[in-house]
């Protein structure tokens, strides 16, 4: 199932938890756990995009820069190898 998650992500344009969960016939929470597991194992790379602004960057004029809540996922080389295996 985890390999299927990798394949779904590879083929998707947008990360829709709902759609991937539906395709794999699992709940969204389970899918989220699977993705966390894949990230932990190094098959996926998770990126929250913008800086958090938790600490102010030196010279930054704004303490509240745009922090768009975007989660991005990319497949690592290890993940690619797994998909192709």
């Amino acid at each position: 199932m985890l390999k299927e998650v990798l394949k779904e992500i590879k083929e998707a344009n947008v990360y829709s938890r709902q759609q991937i969960a539906k395709n794999l016939e699992v709940s969204e929470d389970v899918l989220e756990d699977m993705i966390k597991t894949l990230v932990r194992m190094g098959y996926l790379d998770e990126d929250l995009g913008s800086p958090t602004c938790e600490t102010k960057c030196s010279g930054c004029s704004v303490s509240s820069c745009n922090t768009i809540p975007l989660k991005m996922l990319s497949i690592t080389e290890k993940g690619e190898r797994k998909i192709n295996s």
Partner: protein, 661 residues
């Protein structure tokens, strides 16, 4: 006294069940060596006392957190007579992953299928009989919050205490089963704190705690190293088997109502993020935001701050004169501070309104869609999709924009993202546009502002494309992004977001800009005896020295030149200096009139192009140095935008002049 352990996912109702079972007979401490809370209690049943331990809430029994380690250590080493696994019936599939791991460990498990009332209200039907058969352990329905099913759970638990747990034999596939068997054989003569089978399984999963336990067992270590050398990684396959096992059970035992997969968000996204309409709609929304900014910020709110600064300036001037203050102090406060800083502050209403609308877009979830639409364009021109994140952050300030490029792993992608970020028009440049729009395009402010921002994005894409084809060639990797569901904006969140940005702007006007203005004021009145703000002052001489450079762009005056020079310290300083050099107390409409007299429409456009694209502020250059660890790239960052901006400004002015504008 017999021991019962309670284990379950967070929010499964485990602690509620613990409280129901133990009442007030409980105490709280810490697990030895860790900061995880240990809750223990007891209850009496038919004269016998039972000890209950509430283990930390966890989703699995790996070795990735203290909670997981504490829970699994107690189950294996604490030898509880029964482990009550509290399972959230509304989220069975997720909860059963932990159950599977408990069964793997060979624990004597009783499943408390909790929150059954909520599951029923969601029309989730679970066959406890089938579930019990599939898992091989007792499954008892409970609603701990309403104390339902508690007696049945106690009875079932006590019954299980006196029985041998049914051993479930898992299979992880032939290859892994054989490996488990091999490692188990190697472990059989060793004295281990955990069962051999389970230790072997965990070793194949790469469990750090188990690896440290077998550190001195040469045979096991050699075998594991040989697997590593063959590039064998079983962890994913083992976890996969558990998920497949759980998935199979839920399919067999759970009936759920059919879910509506097409949500309102999906329907809206079909239009807002479509290939055909996504970009035009994004453009239209931004145009409307800029247009509304001018209608609300300038036409409705604009006059109040300007009038307040004027009244403040007149009051302070009157007071300073009345107390006999020296001329230089009056000049510094009125012409330097009020004229300079006031010229920046007068645009607070417009900036406030712009950030208000942008905060609404962010809070609804639309800005994520904008990022998605931009991502498509990025890829189309050969840039890494993640570049757009740093670009959008750059609209607030280029310093965090450049910091945001850290998310790009590839150095080439990152260098391009850094080098194009300053073309994203930061908030500090807004007052420049606003003062020139007020002077020359009062009726088309929204459109002009939109064009300025669009030009910045266009130039960033163009330069990005150029860099990716010349300086930094390479392939960009694939990634996908999650778009959050749309929601109604929360007034508190929108107002807080707007306030934080406006307050930052005001703070900067009172600190950095004040310091720059103070320095430039000194330069404008020295050497002693010269006419303040004249060509003979140090400031005037610096301006005169630079001015010929800008003559081909149509703004070769010492005032315009020196304001651009000051803008390298901080972009707000451009307007502050214009406010100061154009006759002192010239904030608001007076400054606008002075600019209208000193520029033509064409030279104003050329000046706007220059300020949009030229050398970023000192903080940005310093950030480039820090992020690239290279003076060379910091110098490049200072020079290439200037050359580009100057060339474009000259082009605009010369072509415009030839066309008769």
């Amino acid at each position: 006294m017999q021991n019962i352990a309670l284990v379950g996912n967070p929010n499964s109702g485990k602690t509620t069940l613990f409280n129901v079972l133990t009442g007030s007979n409980q105490h709280v401490g810490n697990w030895p060596g860790v900061t995880v809370e240990k809750k223990e209690g007891s209850f009496k049943h038919k004269g016998a006392l039972y000890n209950v331990v509430d283990l930390p809430g966890t989703y699995s029994l790996g070795a990735y957190s203290e909670d997981e380690l504490v829970a699994r250590d107690f189950i294996v080493k604490g030898n509880p007579d029964v482990v009550i696994n509290v399972v959230d019936a509304t989220n069975l599939e997720r909860n059963l992953y932990l159950t599977t791991q408990l069964l793997e460990m060979g624990a004597n498990v009783v499943v408390a299928l909790n929150m059954m009332d909520e599951a029923e209200s969601k029309q989730i039907m679970i066959s406890t009989k089938d579930l019990s058969e599939a898992l091989g352990v007792p499954v008892i329905s409970t609603v701990a919050a309403k104390k339902k099913g508690i007696q049945e759970l106690i009875d079932g638990t006590l019954k299980a205490m006196n029985q041998e747990p049914r051993k479930i034999v898992f299979t992880y596939g032939k290859e892994i089963d054989e490996e488990i068997s091999k490692i188990r054989d190697l472990l059989k003569d060793e004295s281990l704190p955990y069962p051999d089978d389970w230790t072997a399984l965990k070793l194949l999963e790469g469990d750090q705690e188990m690896l440290s336990i077998v550190e001195k067992m040469d045979q096991v270590k050699t075998h594991l190293k040989s697997l590593q050398a063959d590039n064998v990684d079983y962890e994913l396959d083992i976890v996969d088997k558990r998920y497949a096992y759980v998935n199979g059970i839920t399919k067999k035992c759970v009936v759920k109502p059919a879910e509506e997969i097409v949500t309102a968000t999906d329907k809206i996204d079909r239009i807002l993020t479509s290939r055909l309409f996504g970009l035009p709609i994004f453009g239209l929304i931004m145009y409307l935001v800029f247009q509304l900014t001018f209608v609300v910020g300038s036409d409705i709110l604009g006059g109040y701050v300007e009038t307040a600064i004027e009244i403040f300036g007149e009051f302070v001037e009157g007071w300073l004169v009345s107390v006999g203050s020296p001329d230089w102090l009056v000049s510094f406060v009125i012409e330097g501070f009020v004229g300079g800083v006031g010229a920046v502050l007068v645009f607070v209403p417009l900036i406030m309104v712009l950030y208000f609308f942008l905060a609404i877009l962010e809070d609804t979830g639309y800005m994520s869609r904008a990022a998605y639409i931009m991502d498509g364009i990025m890829r189309a021109v050969g840039l890494h999709g993640k570049t757009f994140i740093s670009m959008i952050v750059g609209f607030g300030c280029n310093v965090p924009g450049i910091m945001a490029t850290r998310t790009l792993e590839n150095k080439k992608d990152r260098m391009i993202a850094i080098l194009i970020n300053p073309f994203m028009s930061c908030g500090a440049r807004l007052p420049i546009y606003l003062v020139f729009i007020a002077a020359f395009f009062p009726n088309n402010g929204g459109l002009v502002l939109f064009i300025i921002y669009a030009l910045g994005i266009g130039m960033a894409l163009l330069m990005g494309k150029l860099f990716s084809k010349t300086l930094f060639k390479g392939e960009s990797s694939h990634f996908i992004m999650e778009l959050p569901p749309y929601r109604l904006p929360s007034p508190t969140s929108v107002l807080r977001d707007m306030w934080e940005k406006v307050w930052d702007f005001v703070k900067r006007a009172g600190t950095v800009i004040f310091a720059v203005v103070a320095l430039l004021w000194v330069m404008s009145v020295l050497p002693m005896g010269v006419e303040p703000y004249s060509q003979e002052s140090i400031l005037g001489r610096v301006g005169q020295f630079i001015a010929p450079l800008f003559a081909p762009a149509g703004f070769g005056t010492w005032q315009a030149s020196v304001s651009l020079f000051a803008g390298i310290a901080a972009k707000e300083a451009v307007v502050a200096v214009l406010g100061m050099v154009y006759a002192g107390v010239s904030e608001g409409s007076e400054l606008v009139n002075a600019i209208r007299d000193s520029f033509t429409t064409l030279s104003a456009v050329s000046f706007l192009v220059m300020t949009l694209l030229y050398t970023p502020c000192a903080a940005v250059i310093a950030t480039v140095k820090k992020e690239t660890n290279s003076y060379k790239w910091a110098a490049f960052m200072a020079i290439y935008p200037f050359v580009l901006a100057w060339s474009l400004a000259v082009l605009v002015y010369q072509i415009g002049s030839l066309m008769g504008f």
